[in-house]
């Protein structure tokens, strides 16, 4: 049997979701954003909710996510995606609303909106892509940057406190990696909080199942934020090739940000 015999419409088992537009992603080769977009689109398609889904894109690399999803979309100001999602969901409670944000957007400039959206228990789905760095602006420190990690604004590595040497040792410097997901999980307004990854097929499948649950909860519920963090890569600003970046993610990001459900059905998962 030749390849040509196999590649026929009736034998198709996997293809890109029809809910993605024909526009090629502008993301760097190997960037997790593309994979995450793909599985979100698959979930919306599988749930058949494309006619009532409204997305909110952030400021950051995924600012133009609206170009890729074939659903209605609004582009939010930096950090304000969940305020936007709140605005839409409150006036259209029967629509399905999701926000899509990176670590700078959600956990630095938008921390206030993040906390309060979660605390109000808005019935929305929040997707949080954490790659520990500012991608679009060129690789500066993010709130989730690992200690010791080199970025454009921590060229000698992120140091929570100043190192010994100039007599300033021990005074505050760059602070610590912010575990915003654990933080919001402890708010009564969150219903489902989970941390996933998309670096290999098994984790993509798990992440997709989590995103699906986060959408289903919204559809079936009346209140409570459904929050999916996805630990992702930034090979361009991590300055490594895509395959190496995914290895680095497993070895360095995951020990700091362990995967798994943190809160399910409003209850913290005991580890």
């Amino acid at each position: 049997m030749t390849v040509e015999d196999i590649i026929k419409p009736e034998n198709l088992v996997y293809e890109k979701s029809k809910l993605l537009t024909s526009k090629p992603f502008h993301y760097c080769p190997g960037c997790g954003h593309g994979t995450i977009h793909r599985i979100i689109a698959e979930v919306i398609e599988e749930l058949g909710i494309d006619e009532k889904t409204i997305g909110v894109s952030p400021v950051g690399c995924s600012v133009m996510a609206y170009d890729y999803f074939d659903v209605d979309f609004i582009e939010a100001a930096h950090g304000r995606a969940t305020a936007c999602a709140t605005g839409i969901k409150r006036v259209w409670p029967d629509k399905v609303v999701f926000s899509y944000q990176g670590d700078g957007d959600l956990a630095a400039i938008g921390t206030c909106e993040t906390i309060h959206t979660c605390n109000r228990g808005e019935n929305i789905t929040m997707i949080f892509v954490n790659n520990g760095i500012y991608g679009m602006t060129g690789g500066q420190m993010a709130p989730t940057t690992l200690e010791g990690m080199k970025t454009a604004t921590t060229p000698y590595g992120r140091k929570a406190t100043l190192p010994a040497g100039a007599g300033f040792d021990g005074i505050p410097n760059n602070g610590y990696p912010l575990h915003i997901t654990e933080l919001i999980a402890h708010l009564p307004g969150t219903k489902y909080v989970t941390r996933q990854a998309v670096y290999d097929p098994a984790h993509v499948r798990k992440a997709k199942a989590a995103i699906k649950k986060a959408f289903e909860n919204q559809i079936n519920g009346k209140s409570g934020v459904n929050f999916v963090e996805i630990v992702s890569n930034c090979n361009s600003n991590w300055k490594m090739d895509p395959v190496k970046a995914n290895q680095w993610l497993v070895e360095n990001m995951l020990p700091e940000y362990p995967l798994g459900d943190i809160k399910v059905d409003g209850k913290i998962v005991e580890k």
Binding site: T21, D50, E51, K52, T53, I54, V56, V63, M64, Y66, D67, F69, D70, V71, D72, F73, I74, E75, A76, A77, R80, A83, C84, A85, T86, G87, I88, R90, V91, W92, K95, C112, E113, I115, H116
Partner: protein
């Protein structure tokens, strides 16, 4: 005929919003406009009409809720006072860029910074000349009475949706806090989903399969498209300037000298006109109701009909005077008089200023 009531300006604004069929109010408390959200909360509008009232975590969050809910085709509003409106400028610029209709009220207090909680008109520049980033305008309505606080909600929403832009109700602490009788409009129904979909095809309501998905954004990295978008916005503002100028003239028919004043200053200047006329001075008052678009032509007409000078009376160090001077274009004298810091000028000192600065002893 509507219902006659005695109300504060802030309350009239809030009640009028419910009766207009406003879908949502997103706000944050700040003196001197907290009565708006307090009144709305007390009225339980969710039960009265289904209107959403949400106390946000900040003015920033509130305006971005307005931005998105307005983009979703709903009639939404917010209100604040000067320092709070500073925070809202981010969202207002996005609203302008993305062409989202909404109404926001600014019950102005003194500045800069935390300033005072007393009335002021020192945010004219911020409201009329931009405030946020980029080349944009908002329609600015200046109520001078509690009645107009109520009336401008409906006018504001009508204009906001007609032009897909933000409408600012530029009030001040005096108009917001004072009690007057007001005729309230009849209760109107809120728009249904079908009506919104039919009337506002741009609104984010969930795209129908087989149709183009909608994107509300202020971003375009294509320079040609962004220039085209800016030209489109300017053409729209030009249309607003041609069609929506509103003002009131009091005793201007035979006036030699005219006060130009809006909001609470106009109420005082009206008294100054009376006092002047009792002394044999032919004074008039031009009260701009829209600050953008500005009644430039009305000033030009007054000059054509023999007005020899204008005094811009403002609770500021001189902001609207720039527009008065532009309208005068050097043909006649135009000067500013104003008190600040929360002090409200008296009719007598306003008349004295007219005599001293414009008429000459």
């Amino acid at each position: 005929m509507g219902e006659l009531k005695l109300m504060k300006g802030n309350e009239a604004l809030a009640e009028s919003a419910i009766r207009y069929g406003c879908d949502a109010y997103f706000g944050y408390p700040i003196t001197p406009q907290s009565e708006v959200i307090e009144y709305l909360s007390e009225q339980n509008p969710y039960e009265r009409t289904g209107m959403v009232v949400l106390q946000a975590e900040s003015e920033l969050a509130a305006i971005n809720m307005v931005y998105a809910a307005g983009a979703a085709g709903k009639r939404v509003m917010t209100s604040s006072s000067s320092p709070g409106v500073c925070l809202k400028q981010e969202g207002i610029a996005y609203i302008a860029g993305a062409e989202v209709p909404c109404v926001y009220a600014d019950v102005v207090r003194g500045g800069p910074g935390l300033g005072t909680i007393q009335p002021s008109q020192a945010d004219y520049f911020q409201a009329v000349k931009g405030g946020g980033n980029g080349d944009y305008k908002n329609i600015v309505l200046a109520p001078a009475s509690v009645q107009e606080m109520a009336d401008f909600v409906a006018l504001g929403f009508d204009l906001a949706f007609k032009y897909r832009m933000a409408v600012c109700i530029l009030s001040d602490g005096a108009i917001g806090q004072m009690m007057e009788k007001v005729v309230l409009p009849e209760q109107k129904p809120r728009m249904t989903e079908e009506e919104i979909k039919a009337k506002y095809p741009w609104a984010l309501t969930g795209r129908k399969r087989g149709t183009q998905h909608r994107i509300i954004t202020s971003l375009d990295l294509d320079s040609n498209k962004m220039e085209e978008h800016n030209r489109h916005l300017q053409a729209k503002y030009k249309m607003v300037e041609e069609n929506e100028v509103r003002y009131e003239e009091i005793n201007c028919e035979d006036a030699d000298y005219v006060f130009v004043a809006y909001g609470s200053s106009a109420r005082i200047a009206q008294k100054s006109v009376q006092l002047g006329r009792e002394q044999g001075l032919k004074l008039g008052l031009l009260r701009p109701i829209t600050l953008f678009p500005y009644p430039t032509k009305a000033i030009e007409n007054l000059i054509n009909h023999g007005v020899k000078g204008f005094l811009s009376v403002e609770l500021s160090c001189g902001q609207m005077i720039e527009d008065v001077k532009l309208a005068c274009n050097g043909r006649v004298k135009a000067e500013h008089f104003g008190r600040v810091g929360g002090i409200i000028h008296t009719p007598e000192e306003v008349l004295e200023a007219m005599k001293k600065q414009i008429i000459g002893e």
